[in-house]
């Protein structure tokens, strides 16, 4: 349960951080950098989530479809 709650807080933290970076960069007139920062944060989180989803599908296959 500990690693799960860690992952959730990690993702929420990265999300808020990218939102803040996006706002700051936008305010200082660097729209392009702002978009790239958001995209990078999104990709980092997506990699984490995708690994967990593949874990889930492996487990479902083990439990229901193994025999």
């Amino acid at each position: 349960m500990n690693s799960e709650i860690n992952a959730i807080f990690f993702i929420a933290g990265v999300g808020i951080l990218t939102a803040v970076i996006h706002t700051v960069l936008k305010q200082s007139g660097k729209e392009e950098f702002a978009h790239w920062a958001t995209l990078t944060g999104f990709i980092v989180i997506m990699l984490t989530v995708v690994s967990y989803i593949s874990d889930l599908f492996d487990k479902v296959r083990d439990v229901f479809l193994s025999n």
């Binding site: 992952a7 959730i8 939102a19």
Partner: protein
């Protein structure tokens, strides 16, 4: 008291999601997806126990293994399809959600075909010629 763990996980995720939804909706979507995955993984460990008991019972009752395996496969398909459909529905794609559900239903029907065939054959054998 695992329910307290799950409720705590869910509630803290909901609080974070409420904050995050206004800032960046895409990341909020990924977070809600991840919480669903975690709860699912947590439940799968428990489901394993139930399935072990079912297998033991069916061995004792002399039920053919192929029936139990088919039922387990059907339950697995239903779980995965439901999961994906809910996620699609959550992000506003009701059309894709219903297509996923349709695919799950048809695949379940295909898996159930041999059992239906056996039932029909048994009934025909029972009928007087």
């Amino acid at each position: 008291m695992e329910i307290i763990q799950i409720v705590g996980l869910g509630l803290s995720a909901v609080i974070l999601l409420v904050v995050l939804r206004g800032q960046s909706p895409q990341i909020a979507f990924l977070l809600s997806l991840l919480v669903g995955v975690f709860i699912f993984i947590f439940l799968l460990d428990r489901i394993t126990l139930v399935i072990a008991m079912l297998e033991k019972l069916s061995v004792q009752a002399g039920v053919e293994m192929i029936f139990l395996q088919t039922i387990l496969k059907i339950i697995g398909i239903a779980y995965i399809a439901e999961f994906a459909a809910q996620i699609a529905k959550d992000s506003g794609e009701g059309a894709i959600a219903s297509k996923i559900e349709l695919a799950g239903k048809i695949l379940i029907l295909v898996l159930a075909l041999p059992i239906v065939q056996r039932v029909v054959e048994t009934v025909i054998n029972l009928l007087p010629a």
